[in-house]
């Protein structure tokens, strides 16, 4: 799809994150490039240990980066930045965490949990106004204002996740990083939280970076998806194109692992297991290439041939 005319919100350029010591470095993420446009939901999918959370945490300045640029609204926000910019980034980028049982302070009341960001950033906000914004944030996520005086243990998992969302909304952010916000929830509550997230996006014009390991959820909520494996993005495309023509073998493996609610299909399904040894990258090095408009894949020349052929056949079938 054409992105001209759409406002670029976040750019990640050649990002690298290292852990460990200088002598024994561990490169968690490398050569990561993507753009996120205003108002879209960008999905990042991969298995545990692939570095998807690391990227999210690097954007929100929790993990320091070792190379590359993260540019938010035209300003570089990784590395050393001014206090004033730091404050603005803190307000405009917020995060929703995975496990609502672990991410809320058990000893604090909901009122404090939700307003803590305001206390830190808008120190001189008068108390009545702060209470009003807490009530508003709670109402936005479908909770009652009187819940503000309760403790987290009085709530169910779905309600706790709503509190986590309210906590990020109160800062009036433009960009929310949702790190597996529904993995720890029951199926029936998942639906409620997903609906809430899309409702808030429409109402407030939010942009999401949605991190998950489950492609079936991604298809429902994301506009574009990047597939990450061992710290490198291997394929990136619009959601429907990715589902129609998964090119990289790892993407195919992820797709085949989605459990289908259909016993007949499921019993005949062949599980694809991704083996990195299937690539022959000794001579022919892989490059990050655009194969059709908006559809990128990490492949070498020989593989590109195969991918082009696959695309051509599927076009013929669909037309």
């Amino acid at each position: 799809m054409q992105h001209e005319g759409r406002e670029l919100l976040l750019q990640v350029k050649d990002l690298e994150v290292r852990f460990g010591t200088k002598r024994h470095p561990f490169i968690a993420v490398q050569h990561v490039n993507f753009d996120i446009y205003k108002g879209e939901t960008f999905g990042l999918v991969g298995e545990s240990g692939s570095g998807k959370t690391t990227i999210g945490r690097a954007i929100i300045r929790i993990n320091p980066t070792s190379a590359g640029d993260i540019i938010f609204k035209g300003e570089k926000i990784n590395g050393p930045i001014s206090k004033e910019l730091d404050r603005r980034v803190t307000q405009q980028i917020q995060m929703i965490f995975q496990d609502p049982m672990a991410s809320l302070n058990e000893r604090a009341k909901v009122d404090y949990i939700v307003s803590e960001g305001l206390i830190n950033v808008a120190k001189d906000m008068p108390r009545p106004q702060r209470e009003k914004s807490v009530a508003q944030a709670l109402a936005d996520v479908g909770l009652l204002p009187e819940f503000a005086s309760r403790f987290p243990h009085e709530f169910s998992g779905g309600q706790r996740q709503r509190i986590g969302i309210a906590r990020s909304l109160i800062m009036e952010p433009e960009f929310i990083i949702a790190d597996e916000p529904i993995s720890a929830l029951d199926v029936s509550i998942r639906a409620q939280v997903l609906n809430l997230l899309s409702h808030l996006q429409r109402k407030k014009g939010l942009t999401y970076l949605f991190i998950a390991h489950d492609l079936s959820v991604m298809r429902f909520i994301c506009d574009r998806i990047a597939v990450i494996h061992k710290g490198q993005i291997v394929e990136m495309s619009e959601t429907e194109k990715l589902f129609a023509n998964p090119l990289h073998p790892y993407t195919q493996a992820l797709l085949s692992a989605i459990p289908l609610p259909d016993p007949l299909l499921e019993r005949n399904k062949k599980l694809i297991i991704y083996d990195p040894a299937c690539h022959d990258y000794a001579v022919d090095k892989p490059r990050w290439q655009e194969i059709e408009p908006g559809h990128f894949v990490l492949a070498n020349e020989q593989e590109m041939e195969g991918h082009r052929e696959q695309l051509a056949t599927s076009c013929r079938i669909s037309s």
Binding site: V187, S188, S198, H213, R219, L255, P259, P261, P263, L265
Partner: protein, 354 residues
């Protein structure tokens, strides 16, 4: 599918089971009159939201109820004995592990971090089969290969922290296999795992059920997962089985509104831009006496009688039973929601390119 081959032979028979817990001076009625037959060699899935009692139900089969819980009435018949009447720990030790084994949800917490995994499997072998020394070592290696762990001779000397989440769950399954039990209860074995690993573990469990002729009871909250593994599915709500039938019957011809709701809330069936179906409200508080159908307050199709009287089971087919007044001949005809028709349509389109 597999029913035709097997002769119907009930291995575990649960009759009108009631389980209660005493909590802060109040009584919680966790299981409300469950009747269930488990056939030898089948794999039965129990599906429900958290708090629906699916774990409590299976814990009563192993005598693992918490101190404050008890079987109030009903019976559990297994190999000529009534498990519900068991009182002492000594009775249970004849069953637990030896006849009925369990795989728990989180492989990070269910292994002993201080013992090698070979030692933990060997413990089960020694206790249940009296194997020791080289004979046990050899058997451990065979079992590890069975659950898909390569280089068993080296791996058996390693500790749990040297294994990834999926591999640890394989070890837990290996311990359950080593017990040589007849029934394997899997309590959300893949919830803590990635989708790719989940698919592999499901396949492994299915293969092992065949190889060791196990009877499996599979607990999950995700109906999407069980299509692959279950012969029969029981849907639980508020401590009661509201619908039970073969896998095909539940997916292609569900009759209870709660099953409809569970199926339509799957993101696999959602369409971008449309709201996903979400069940309104919360499950009932089991401290209170439940009048009528427990699902009625959240049920958009509820009839007046649902609030008055608990529905009996209606037979849809010899294998398909539903506890809902909607199936009474006097009830108005209700069509299941539109999104359920996408099950076949969308399932197909998911896969045709791969």
């Amino acid at each position: 599918m597999s029913e035709a081959v097997k002769t119907p032979d009930t291995i575990l028979q649960v009759q009108d089971l009631n389980v209660k817990f005493s909590l802060r001076g109040r009584v919680l009625h966790a299981i409300r009159g469950v009747t269930l037959d488990v056939q030898r060699g089948e794999s039965l899935a129990i599906v429900g939201e958290s708090g629906s009692g699916k774990t409590v139900l299976t814990k009563t089969f192993m005598g693992l109820l918490d101190q404050n819980g008890w079987v109030d009435s009903g019976s559990i018949h297994f190999e000529g004995e009534d498990l519900a009447a068991f009182k002492t720990e000594k009775d249970w030790l004849r069953i637990r592990g030896r006849k009925i084994a369990m795989v728990l949800q989180d492989p990070m917490t269910s292994l002993n971090p201080l013992k090698t995994i070979g030692g933990q499997i060997g413990e089960a072998l020694e206790l249940h089969q009296g194997l020791k020394g080289p004979a046990a070592d050899q058997r451990i290696q065979e079992i590890l290969l069975d659950v898909g762990i390569e280089e068993p001779a080296r791996r058996m000397k390693q500790y749990p922290h040297q294994f990834s989440g999926g591999m640890r769950q394989r070890v837990v399954i290996a311990i359950a296999i080593a017990c040589q039990s007849r029934i394997l209860i899997c309590d959300e074995p893949t919830t803590a795992l990635d989708v790719t690993i989940q698919a592999q573990i499901l396949q492994l469990i299915r293969d092992l059920i065949h190889k060791y002729e196990l009877t499996a009871i599979y607990i999950t909250h995700d109906l999407g997962v069980v299509a692959n593994i279950a012969d029969r599915i029981a849907v639980m709500y508020a401590g009661d089985i509201v619908e039970i039938g073969t896998c095909e019957e539940i997916f292609f011809d569900p009759r209870h509104p709660y099953t409809w709701a569970l199926l339509s809330s799957l993101p696999q069936l959602g369409r971008k831009g449309e709201a996903l179906y979400a069940i309104k409200g919360t499950p009932p508080n089991l401290f209170n006496e439940i009048k009528g159908d427990a699902f009625a307050p959240r049920n958009p199709y509820a009839l007046n009688i649902d609030f008055e009287q608990r529905p009996p089971y209606f037979d849809v087919s010899p294998t398909h039973k539903v506890r809902s007044w909607l199936l009474d001949p006097r009830a108005p005809k209700v069509e299941p929601p539109e999104s359920l028709k996408r099950i076949q349509a969308q399932g197909g389109s998911f896969y045709e390119h791969c």
